[in-house]
């Protein structure tokens, strides 16, 4: 069976979803084909825009918090970073990112996922590892825990009985040790029990809280919340998060927030589920399947052959957007060789095309260092059209967005979802011929 669309987006993480949502503004018929959720579902749930390229990890430096300034600095210093590539294409990435953020802010608000208001400064949010990180935009439940706003306020880290993934004692101690002397906190911890939760991960705890536990938890906390800010583990509802928040507020627990998450992530899942709702609301077709092959001729992509629910189907489109992610989602593979599996586009690390190269040449000795291998991806021109081995445009009606792009580490360099939103927004705009 043939399927005809104006624009086909491959991948439905943040970049693919933003591209499809922006493209649908033009009134065109849009389809998203995906293998499953994007790695957005595994993110902290907050949207990192740009960390200070000169900043020291873990130190709350005053001048590191202006994310637009950081975007400009990254674009100036790192020629392969997508912010720099867009700047070379004549865009102002800092200003365009602000525009893209307003767009996604409205889209998510419209499907019941309120975000903390966008400001020019990075928020400083607690994570489950006993540290904190700078992030540009967060879900409302997370953003209320901005440590800058809580300076000097008694803050209680709430642990949950039988939930080892969130060691509240340790987190409170680590925060007091690292930043307590600078006027943050003081931090203490308290353990609560969620009825119906006998142990497991944050997923099971969130399910228990949503199904029956929240009222009891709220009544327990009403007594201790006066004059204190409470930081919950990242469990404040997966599918009905607004009900959890409302119940807490109605019971008198007013000043609370939720920690960032590490995979497996309830806030990440919540963010991806909200993107899915936004796509459905805007009439974008979501097809679960995988692209098998593509027909390219005369520098144009004509159609895709896809396997959708076990059936082979031909998908025709005027324009196409590739947003299949990096290693986690399979947009870039490293199985003996580096490869991009959908169009067999060349993979680059920096300026160097890589294929059968030895992986160890691109890994550092320090486990948590900025490994070049994590910055592998496809290269694009300033309009986000992917380049072939001769560094010419592979197909003039194909654009790429998100972590498949070379030059940045979507999980480690503090600009992960910011790049996804900006490049998704631009790709959607370019593919739909909009403005």
């Amino acid at each position: 069976m043939d399927k005809k669309f104006d624009i086909v987006v491959i991948g439905s993480g943040m970049a693919g979803a933003v591209a499809a949502l922006k493209a649908v503004d033009s009134g065109k018929k849009i389809a998203v084909i995906r293998k499953g959720y994007g790695s957005t579902a595994l993110s902290s749930g907050a949207i990192d825009l740009a960390a200070d390229p000169l900043g020291v990890s873990g130190q709350p430096l005053e001048d590191s918090r202006e994310w637009q300034k950081n975007v400009r600095e990254i674009a100036r210093r790192d020629e392969f970073h997508p912010y720099a590539v867009l700047a070379a294409g004549g865009y102002a990435p800092d200003l365009e990112l602000a525009q893209a953020l307003n767009f996604i802010y409205r889209e998510l608000q419209g499907v019941g996922l309120p975000l903390f208001p966008v400001t020019g400064r990075n928020l400083t949010l607690v994570n489950p590892l006993g540290g904190f990180k700078f992030t540009g935009l967060a879900q409302e439940s997370q953003g209320k825990g901005d440590l800058e706003k809580l300076k000097g306020k008694k803050t209680v880290i709430l642990g949950v009985k039988n939930l080892p993934d969130f060691p509240a004692d340790y987190i409170a101690r680590a925060l007091n040790d690292s930043i307590g002397s600078q006027g943050y906190g003081p931090f203490s911890s308290q353990e609560i029990e969620i009825p119906g939760f006998g142990g497991g991960t944050t997923f099971e705890a969130a399910a228990a809280l949503e199904s029956e536990g929240v009222e009891k938890v709220a009544s327990l906390l009403a007594g201790i919340s006066a004059g204190r800010h409470l930081i919950f583990p990242p469990i404040l509802g997966a599918l009905r998060s607004w009900e959890v928040t409302e119940t807490l507020q109605k019971s008198g627990v007013l000043d609370f927030s939720e920690s960032l998450a590490v995979p497996t992530s309830i806030p990440g899942y919540r963010l991806q589920a909200a993107l899915d709702r936004a796509l459905e609301k805007r009439g974008v077709s979501i097809l679960n399947g995988r692209v098998i092959s593509a027909t390219v001729a005369d520098h144009r992509l004509h159609s895709l052959e896809a396997e959708i629910q076990g059936q082979k189907e031909k998908m025709e489109g005027q324009n196409f957007i590739l947003a299949t992610g990096k290693y986690l989602s399979g947009g870039i593979e490293r199985d003996r060789v580096f490869r991009e599996p959908v169009f067999d586009l060349p993979v680059f690390i920096g300026e160097k095309p890589v294929k059968e190269d030895f992986i160890k040449d691109f890994l550092l000795r320090e486990a948590l260092g900025p490994h070049p291998a994590f910055r592998a991806g496809i290269r694009v021109n300033g309009k986000l059209n992917p380049l072939n081995r001769s560094k010419q445009v592979f197909a003039e009606n194909l654009w790429a967005a998100g972590s498949i792009l070379a030059g940045y580490d979507s999980t480690g360099d503090g600009a992960g979802l910011g790049v996804a939103i900006l490049t998704g927004f631009k790709a959607g705009l370019e593919a739909s011929g909009g403005s």
Binding site: K35, F203, T264
Partner: protein
Amino acid sequence: MKKQIHAIINLGVHFALHIIQLIFRFLGKKAPGMKRFRENYGAEGLSPLSRANRENLFILSGCIGCGLCRMTLNLHPAAGATLSDPESLSICLTRSLPDVQAARDSLKLSPASLAGASYCPRGISIAGVYDFLQTADKERV
């Protein structure tokens, strides 16, 4: 010349043995190689896999252990099960095939969870995991 005749006789004898072997196999005798493999490795749970399941194994081992399926598919681990989720399978597939059998006994899937297999970031079908567990076990000794 003498060596050539010897080689031709040798080849002829082995060809005849091969034909006899084929006849026995055709009549229902199992290949001795497979029998020996099973005798040697059956106790450790290392079972031969069909071509289809070898291909499945490659796809299923793409699991990154993110746990999304556990959340979204509402899986029901059996009481006391140690392997209660598909991502555990990725570990035993690469390190301990006997645990595949344990996974089969542990992983209980409802029809609803089989239907909703569209969440995996790697596109691994939960129904595929389930089928693999069932058929891989049947392929055992």
